[in-house]
């Protein structure tokens, strides 16, 4: 649905040339929720603005619904933009227009009749739960309600694609959840393709199908969201996942952990299992078949895109000599295992 090919964006400033985006290539499939994550200054905003040409890439192609929009005339571009909805971190509602009038704006721009506008706006008010707020002004609404208005407005011209520019970044955690739910609902009900940028891993975890990690204007990695969380490749991704999944060891263990084994130490291992592997009684197998006794120190179950992801840190009390077989068995069952280090036997 969206494809960026060889996109570069450079700015010329007094300080010299700034490469905001370098060698950007990615594809967003129809109907998926595609998340771009990165720190502030990574180029996320520039990237998403290139998709509807709020910023023109210096070179490269931007394909939306099969057409290279960088080649369109101004007039053609405007009508293509009706197919691309966008919502923003600061909502960008017109303060002198009511909720209803804000949602009607894109339709007025297209030139719909009053009746047709009403026929389009009313269902959107219902979809976003704003019927009662219809005649209020943005200043009278909460942040979450404002973003709902913005979403309804972005949907008014029946776009094929919705761009979300840090849409939940100025909302509190609870409101963020409700807005993400709404986005997911829309994605399912309308089959809308969503491209979002965020700096919050929770957003990725909650609704994205696909992740792209951006840093200093370059793509660091992109993958399916489950793969991203279970097998992050780059250092940056590993760190993000670690923080997001609360994989950091308790401080008391971090202080005691040693890189090498000695006579009176036990190994600390981390086990990550997801999908069908979660149904496998693997701890029982390790104990009964391989004589490995484990002591669970930390365990966490996450839900990522309707998938279960379990993370467990255990101390190997005995049977360390059988660890190679254990690793073999676990990997066969799609369970990841990693030796984190060693702690003294009586440490806890």
């Amino acid at each position: 649905m969206i494809e960026l090919k060889q996109v570069e964006k450079t700015y010329h400033s007094k300080a010299g040339v700034v490469h905001a985006l370098t060698n950007i290539n990615f594809k967003v499939a129809p109907g998926e929720i595609f998340g771009v994550i990165g720190k502030s200054g990574a180029g996320k905003s520039t990237l998403i603005r290139c998709v509807n040409l709020l910023e023109r890439p210096t070179t490269g192609q931007v394909m939306v619904a099969g057409q290279d929009i960088t080649k369109l005339t101004d007039r053609e571009l405007r009508s293509t933009r009706h197919q691309i909805g966008m919502i923003f971190q600061h909502f960008n509602l017109i303060s002198v227009r009511t909720v209803y009038q804000n949602i009607a704006l894109p339709l007025e721009l297209i030139g719909y009749s009053k009746e047709k506008i009403e026929q389009t706006v009313m269902p959107l008010l219902e979809l976003t739960g704003l019927l009662e707020k219809k005649n209020q002004y943005p200043a009278q609404l909460s942040g979450g309600q404002k973003q709902r208005v913005a979403i309804a407005r972005a949907l008014a011209s029946s776009p094929k694609v919705l761009l979300c520019d840090e849409a939940t970044s100025s909302l509190d955690p609870h409101t963020t959840t409700t807005i993400l739910q709404l986005l997911k609902d829309i994605n399912i009900k309308l089959g809308l393709t969503i491209l979002l940028i965020t700096h919050e891993m929770d957003v990725i975890k909650a609704i994205c199908d696909h992740v792209l990690l951006l840093d200093k204007g370059k793509i660091i990695e992109q993958s399916d969201v489950i793969e991203f969380f279970t097998k992050p490749k780059s250092h940056l991704a590993k760190n993000l996942v670690k923080t997001s999944l609360r994989q950091e060891l308790p401080i008391i263990l971090q202080q005691q952990i040693k890189p090498t084994a000695s006579d009176n130490t036990n190994a600390l291992i981390r086990i990550i299992f997801h999908g069908h592997a979660a149904a496998e009684p693997f701890i029982a197998h390790l104990m009964l078949e391989l004589n490995i006794k484990l002591n669970i120190l930390q365990a966490n179950i996450e839900f990522i895109k309707n998938n279960t992801l379990g993370i467990m840190v255990t101390e190997v009390i005995s049977g360390l000599e059988n660890l190679p077989q254990a690793i073999d068995y676990l990997q066969k069952n799609d369970i990841e295992i990693e030796v984190l280090g060693y702690v003294e036997r009586d440490a806890n």
Binding site: N52, L54, L77, R78, S79, T80, R81, H82, I84, G85, M86, F88, H90, N92, I94, S95, V96, R97, L105, P106, E108, L109, I110, Y137, P138, A139, R153, S157, L163
Partner: protein, 217 residues
């Protein structure tokens, strides 16, 4: 106060109101589009045009640099062309308008600049044309600021109109100069000042009221 004096007061008050409102209306009529063009010709997202911007800005600043009393007499041929005469209250409206257009245009430009960039961006993302951006987003959103600009312009015009006496335009300022200054009639001077203060307060009050009414922030 004699009846003659009272008639003079009524006439002068009327002349001031007439000059301020008529030139104010023309200043808004021409200054609003000028302010809009000044703003959008500088804005890369709408209709950037450096040359147009530089030329318009130069003309605007040029007219604003001319002391009003000079402008009043300097454009006499133009005034005669428009009104058929260079003397009188109606004639004074022409230089007052010419002086107020660039003044108001800059106030409009500043009010438009205060519209958050995000709103313009949102409009662009919705496929708004430059004209639609101006009509549907920029001007409505800046309306409270534009109304404040009208208030400031009208009050400035009250001040400018005091000089209209130089071309026989009359008005309260002229009355104060003729009676109060040239004839040392302090009472009349004070009375005109009080009337002017009242007029300015009234304009400010109405302007604030309207600006508040159209603002929903």
């Amino acid at each position: 106060m004699s009846n003659v004096m009272l008639t003079e007061f009524f006439l002068a008050t009327w002349q001031t109101i007439y000059m301020v409102l008529a030139s104010g209306a023309f200043a808004v009529l021409f200054g609003l589009p000028l302010g809009v063009i000044l703003m959008i010709s500088r804005h890369q997202d709408i209709l950037e045009n450096k040359y147009l911007n530089v030329i318009l800005a130069a003309i605007t600043n040029g007219v604003r640099s001319i002391p009003f009393i000079i402008l009043l007499v300097a454009i006499v041929p133009f005034t005669r062309l428009i009104t058929g005469t260079s003397i009188g209250t109606t004639a004074a409206i022409v230089p007052l308008t010419i002086g107020a257009i660039p003044f108001f245009a800059r106030l409009v430009e500043s009010a438009l600049n205060d519209v958050a960039g995000g709103l313009i961006e949102a409009g662009t993302s919705m496929g708004a044309s430059p004209l639609q951006t101006v009509v549907k987003i920029l001007v409505p959103e800046a309306l409270p600021g534009i109304i404040n600009g009208i208030t400031i312009t009208l009050i400035a015009l009250v001040g400018y109109s005091a000089m209209a006496g130089a071309v026989g335009g009359g008005g309260l300022g002229d009355l104060a100069i003729r009676y109060g200054y040239q004839r040392f009639e302090v009472g009349i001077m004070l009375a005109t000042v009080v009337l002017l203060i009242f007029l300015v307060q009234l304009i400010q009050y109405l302007g604030d009221f309207l600006a508040k009414k159209v603002s929903h922030k």
